[in-house]
Symmetry: C3
Subunit: 261 residues, 3 copies
């Protein structure tokens, strides 16, 4: 349980973004929080819960914020207010986790350039929410770039602590299809089983499924699943592996329940 | 449209091999062709079509030909005459592509030594022609040698521009089975989907299919598929992936039709 | 056929361990064997058969035994007496191979610490014996340690000459699951077909099978198959590949029967 001493902003509206750190920063809207320590970090999706159990904020991004006149960028996190909060001098809260945190990333040159509406990304979020207990989900869009995808997935897995990252697009054999190259380079444990299950599901529908080079695996405590770009392939592939996602994340993050039975 | 000025040979019979280059070479039968440029190169299987659409030649091999008295080996290509051509001073033609170009390579110590008749290679060509629109097909035979297979496939994919290369043999676990080692080392994009589809098709027939280490992938604009040595396995494996070959080659060579639907 | 000159022990009981080498060592019970050569080595499971065909000993471990006062550790092997043998001055025998030699290795921190009974390892041995012609089987238990597993499998495959090594445990995504990392690093020929067949068999039972990262392949003349830790997964996975094990080992060890039909 932390005590939050309000800094520059006192009246907070639902939906407002607030920056939390252990030092005061000249930024509206920010809070200096006692007891957060020098490197406050909470996984994206973490809830900040008040004394009586009310959900006050949800963490949406950890960052080190460059602040004029301060030597080192200030570590802290942005959180979204979940309720209206009236003027008060301090506010106590504790961190709580509820459901899985999901990041989805659409790989599309045209989409990233605003020349095409992203339909596969939102489809992923809808299907995942229908199947799993999702506490937090956030979408991203990138051009088909190895460097950008690597950097983004590293950041989301290790910097933001997402439980699951799902990508769509860039898994084929075209000149701009480089998702497998980007992801394979950063996976710690490759999960051929996820790949095989998804391929088998797609092959049951079309011979052309063989063209997909979608890979899966882990990075830190995060499960990474790449999916083809088409909505049809997204749906077919996800259906094959969603039932195993919660179990996999639990094992990955150290659930030591005995498997040997 | 190039204008071909006949060099040393003027009467060409159907089936005759003719060397085309941008300089005159003292070689029967060769042609100096105006407008080919210093590095004439046409993918194997390219047709040279006359003014009225008649197919005159088909390119069968690009090469740099060592010519006595010439400083650098002369770049050009060998083409097969598809019709009889009578004496003429010049001939205009343009390059055209029709159907897929296929190279198949049989890996067999005994076959390469002439101690065994190659039946799997011709079977590949027959099955591929039955299933796909093939413009040109050429067979090769090699002993089970990593170096020779690597060199040959690099040459066929990058030097000759074949659309598809299919190998047979050398995929097992015997001491001389080294096709996967050779091919894996030169693939640019590995296609686990092709491998999985072929393995699943074989497993449906026999438990012993697990012994195959056949790999697939891409090199330049070429799709490479390795197959086991037995005719039975060749047929089972090919059946599983042939329906996807044309689509894969089109995507690989940059067909940018949108996949996102 | 070697002539065995009894050294320090003359009356041998069934089940007794005897050390064989080409020099006399001050060790009960040991034999100096004429004609074994400076590096006696027989694959684990090899039978030592007497003149009239009776099975006298079975090799259980090759080793280089440190002996006080001898410059180099003495190469030889331990063998288990299969019958009672009364006092005699010499004994002639020849080496014979009968059936497959199998080593199974259980990976389990708790099991290795004696805090849990190993049930999956014995299950492997039972299932393998039911399905294959097994001449010799030996179990091992290790904690989930990359270094220990690598060293053990190298030793069993290359130092002891086992035909097949089966491991159970450590194939998941938990922090201590490192069997794939250990084994992948020492495989010479990876057998994706075994992996695919096992995964397909498990997926037919449960979506959660995707979590397994079990790998298979070869090292020297040895077939290595890793299995998940649970008894259920062991049974499902083994059933899918046991029918192909004898064929694979025969091919791996150089059976040159023609595959091309």
């Amino acid at each position: 349980m932390h005590t939050c001493n309000f800094g520059l902003c006192r009246n907070i509206s639902k939906g407002q973004m607030v920056f939390f750190s252990s030092v005061e920063v000249p930024l509206a809207c920010s809070h200096r929080v006692n007891g957060l320590g020098p490197r406050p970090w909470l996984p994206a999706g973490t809830l900040l819960v008040g004394k009586t159990g009310e959900e006050l904020f949800r963490v949406v991004q950890n960052t080190a914020l460059p602040v004029p006149g301060v030597l080192h960028a200030v570590k802290g996190f942005w959180a979204e207010a979940l309720v209206d909060m009236e003027e008060a001098d301090s506010l106590a809260f504790s961190a709580a986790s509820k459901g899985l945190s999901i990041a989805w990333v659409t790989l599309s040159d045209k989409g990233a350039a605003g020349e095409r509406v992203d339909e596969s990304g939102p489809l992923i979020e809808r299907l995942v929410r229908e199947s799993l207990n999702v506490g937090h989900a956030q979408g991203f869009i990138l051009p088909d770039s190895i460097a950008e995808l690597k950097q983004t997935v590293m950041e989301l897995a290790l910097g933001q602590g997402y439980d699951v990252i799902l990508t769509t697009g860039g898994t084929g054999v075209g000149p701009r299809d480089t998702t497998p190259e980007a992801i394979t380079g950063i996976l710690e444990k490759r999960l051929y089983g996820f790949e095989q299950a998804m391929m088998a599901a797609s092959l049951a529908k079309t011979h052309n499924a063989v063209i997909s080079r979608a890979v899966s695996g882990t990075l830190g405590g995060c499960l990474i699943i790449t999916l083809p770009g088409s909505r049809k392939a997204v749906a077919e592939n996800l259906e094959a592996v969603l039932p195993a996602v919660a179990h996999t994340v639990a094992k990955l993050q150290g659930d030591s329940a005995d498997c040997g039975s």
